[in-house]
């Protein structure tokens, strides 16, 4: 699992392993490697390209296989913006994703600190129970949650979308593991300097768990952004719903409106694409650390 105390680890001299290969062979290997990567990159990017191209096609050209539409237009974007309140839905999704991310990190840090630093009755049992909740699919608890938010009078509100995600096993487990690997000497030193738990957590541990926190931020944000079932059950009006529901509204049993759907999808994926572009390294790290959720 994650170890984020690299800064405290003794420095290890870099070891280089000489490869007894000829310069020509190395060059060829490099070229082949680049070619494979270029093909893979095209393979990965093509669906995104196709989404954008389809969003520019008129309805009677949607099924054409040409790489560029004969009469590209932004009509599908205009239609999608008029058909559903995309801007409001994107705003809702952004708000819900941001709040869930912050709250889950906050509760995760508090719980992880308790599990990593303190011994208390049934601590291991509690930790195991939290770990087990990770195995329970959300669909199983969806109806009890629905009844609860209905009782609280929160149906068709953004608060109801956020409430069941206040704490998550993934955040607690990842952070607890990272904190357990944290050098005890540093914590003892902080304690000797008079720091209490609250200060130790926020001023000593949290700044040094930046990598793990960044990874978790990305994972939580993306999974909340892509959440579908819970908003589907909860939402009553498009204005109080999220973008994934909006995209689905272009798919009906009477046919899918591919052009507007792709236009809405392009708009919906922009924030996530920007997140990827800006935080490429952390995104890759986060998937390597925790697996693809």
């Amino acid at each position: 699992m994650t170890i984020d105390a690299a800064a405290f680890a003794p420095s290890i001299p870099a070891i280089s392993i000489a490869r007894p290969t000829k310069r020509g062979a190395t060059g060829l290997n490099k070229s082949v490697g680049h070619l494979v990567m270029a093909v893979l990159a095209i393979f990965c990017l093509f669906p995104v390209y196709w989404m954008i191209v389809t969003s520019l096609r008129p309805a009677n050209e949607v099924f054409d296989t040409s790489l560029w539409p004969t009469a590209a237009s932004l009509d599908n974007y205009v239609y999608a913006l008029n058909a559903i309140p995309i801007i409001e839905m994107l705003g809702n999704t952004l708000l819900v994703s941001a709040v869930v991310t912050v709250v889950q990190l906050f509760t995760g840090l508090l719980a992880a600190y308790a599990f990593a630093r303190w011994r208390f009755p049934f601590d291991k049992l509690t930790y195991t129970l939290i770990a087990l909740t990770w195995l329970v699919p959300f669909q199983v608890v969806m109806i009890p949650n629905y009844l609860l938010v209905a009782d609280l009078g929160l149906l068709d509100s953004l608060a109801a979308l956020i409430l069941p995600h206040f704490a998550a096993a993934l955040a607690i487990l990842m952070l607890a593991q990272a904190m357990r690997s944290f050098p005890r000497e540093v914590l003892e030193a902080a304690r000797m300097d008079g720091a209490k738990s609250w200060r130790i957590l926020w001023e000593v541990i949290a700044p040094n768990l930046r990598g793990t926190i960044a990874s978790l931020t990305i994972l939580i944000f993306i999974s909340t952004w892509n959440e579908y079932f819970w908003p589907l059950l909860l939402s009553r009006t498009p204005e109080n719903s999220v973008i994934q529901i909006g995209i689905q509204m272009f798919m009906t049993s009477e046919g899918t409106q591919w052009g507007p759907l792709m236009a809405a999808s392009t708009m919906a994926s922009l924030p996530i694409l920007l997140l990827y572009v800006g935080l490429q390294r952390q995104v890759i790290q986060s998937f390597m650390k925790s697996g693809i959720r």
Binding site: N60, A150, R236, G246, M249, E254, G255
Partner: protein
């Protein structure tokens, strides 16, 4: 676990326990005080014409009935039952809902749907039913009572690509009328063009069983015994209908495409014929515009046997227990099935008009029908429409799924049709109410 299965199973238990004290209570003559009713509608869960037209109709209704406020709630047709069950379990019973016909019996047995005869005065009911297609009215009748008032519905139509017909040496003015003719035309298209012969929306995860029921019935097959206790879809007439589809597939005329892929293949001009609900007409028209000549014909029949198409679509059902809300819900139902509403529903959303007298009336659909000849087969079939039957009991969806999986294995999976249908019937019978 499948969400729908979970909801159907778990919440049915909760819902069955609900008592319905107001069942049978008649409604006040008018809505004389402000009231808000919730209206669950699956057109509202879509983007585009269906939602816009529905919103406009609701606004018109509210303007004409200032005391009634309608809160429209969108839920897709596949999810609407699950949503209603969740709300019933949460004690928030919707007042009026648009319910898919295959879910009607479950709604009556488990969710407390009100029979119109029990709550609406007889004279008023009779006056509103006047002019409504009798076949259409029958669709919402269960155990002799009208629980659902047919609202948006359509019939199976054989769409065809007239350009491909010409290229294959077929006469586009004489489309196939029997399954044997469909096979011949399909083979001609596959032989002389690069396109597929015929695709259908009979099978697939979102297909339900409505088209399949029409195929069975057209060969005089049936789903179950008249007392609705014993399944009969493995009887010889039904097996023969399944065997016909298998032969169509084995011959190469019928292509096994996913339900969405089939729709898109037709819209892109890669399939000669396509049997599917008339409700997708708008989608196909958009795809074909400027590309090929799209036409439509009635559902094929078996030799000399009459066509027996059944409907797809939905009915409006009152779930409210409150007499005042029931009156408001009934007023909404009346408006949504009025001549004015059906003019909008047919011309803008694409469903059949339940009131045949508006078809030729220039005040309503007269001019529109002349400009849109694709609706003709649909109107023709309205006269011979049969009901889309729902299976009884809480396992109705599993029974339907078992039947459809057996038939799909027989048609595309290489299993012997009789053996596959008998095995499916045996499994499904165990899920029928005792």
């Amino acid at each position: 676990m499948n969400r729908k299965t979970f909801l159907t199973g778990a919440l049915a238990l909760l819902a069955t326990g609900v008592a319905y004290p107001a069942l049978g209570q008649s409604i006040p003559a008018t809505v004389d005080q402000p009231v808000t009713i919730s209206y669950y509608n699956y057109n509202l869960a879509s983007a585009g014409n269906g939602a816009e037209a529905t919103k406009r109709l609701i606004a018109k209704f509210e303007a004409a009935n200032p005391n009634i406020k309608v809160k429209g709630v969108g839920a897709s047709s596949a999810d609407i039952t699950s949503r209603i069950q969740a709300d019933v379990a949460a004690g928030r019973i919707p007042d009026v809902v648009q319910m898919v016909f295959s879910d009607l019996e479950f709604t009556v047995d488990n969710l407390g749907a009100a029979a119109l005869e029990q709550i609406v005065p007889e004279t008023e009911l009779k006056a509103h039913f006047e002019g409504i297609s009798p076949n259409g009215l029958q669709l919402g009748v269960l155990n002799g009572k009208t629980y659902g008032l047919a609202y948006t519905f359509s019939t199976p139509v054989l769409f065809y690509n007239a350009d491909l017909f010409k290229a294959a040496g077929l006469d586009p003015d004489n489309p196939p009328k029997t399954w044997a003719e469909v096979k011949a035309a399909g083979l001609a298209i596959t032989k002389k063009t690069k396109a597929e012969g015929i695709a259908t929306g009979i099978f697939g995860p979102s297909a339900g069983d409505w088209l399949f029921q029409g195929v069975l019935r057209s060969n005089n097959g049936s789903l179950m015994s008249p007392d609705r206790k014993t399944l009969a879809f493995a009887e010889p007439a039904s097996v023969e209908a399944v065997a016909m589809l298998r032969d169509l597939y084995d011959s190469g005329a019928y292509t096994n495409l996913d339900i969405t892929a089939a729709m898109e293949a037709m819209a892109s001009g890669n399939v000669g014929m396509y049997l599917q609900t008339s409700a997708i007409q708008g989608f196909l028209v958009k795809g074909s515009q400027g590309k090929f000549d799209l036409r439509a014909s009635t559902m094929p029949r078996f030799g000399d046997k009459p066509q027996r198409p059944n409907n797809s679509g939905s009915a409006l059902v009152i779930l409210s227990r409150d007499p005042l809300k029931r009156r408001a819900a009934w007023e909404l139902m009346k408006f949504m099935t009025s001549k004015e509403a059906y003019t909008v529903i047919t011309s803008e959303i694409g469903y059949l008009p339940l009131r045949a007298d508006i078809v030729e009336d220039p005040k309503y659909l007269g001019n529109w029908v002349k400009e849109h000849p694709l609706i003709q087969p649909n109107l023709e079939q309205l006269r011979m429409l049969e009901r889309w039957e729902s299976f009884p009991g809480p396992n109705y969806r599993q029974i339907q799924k078992t039947m459809m999986e057996g038939a799909e294995m027989a048609v595309f999976g290489g299993t012997d049709p009789a053996a596959a249908m008998q095995a499916a019937q045996k499994s499904a019978q165990a899920m029928m109410p005792k």
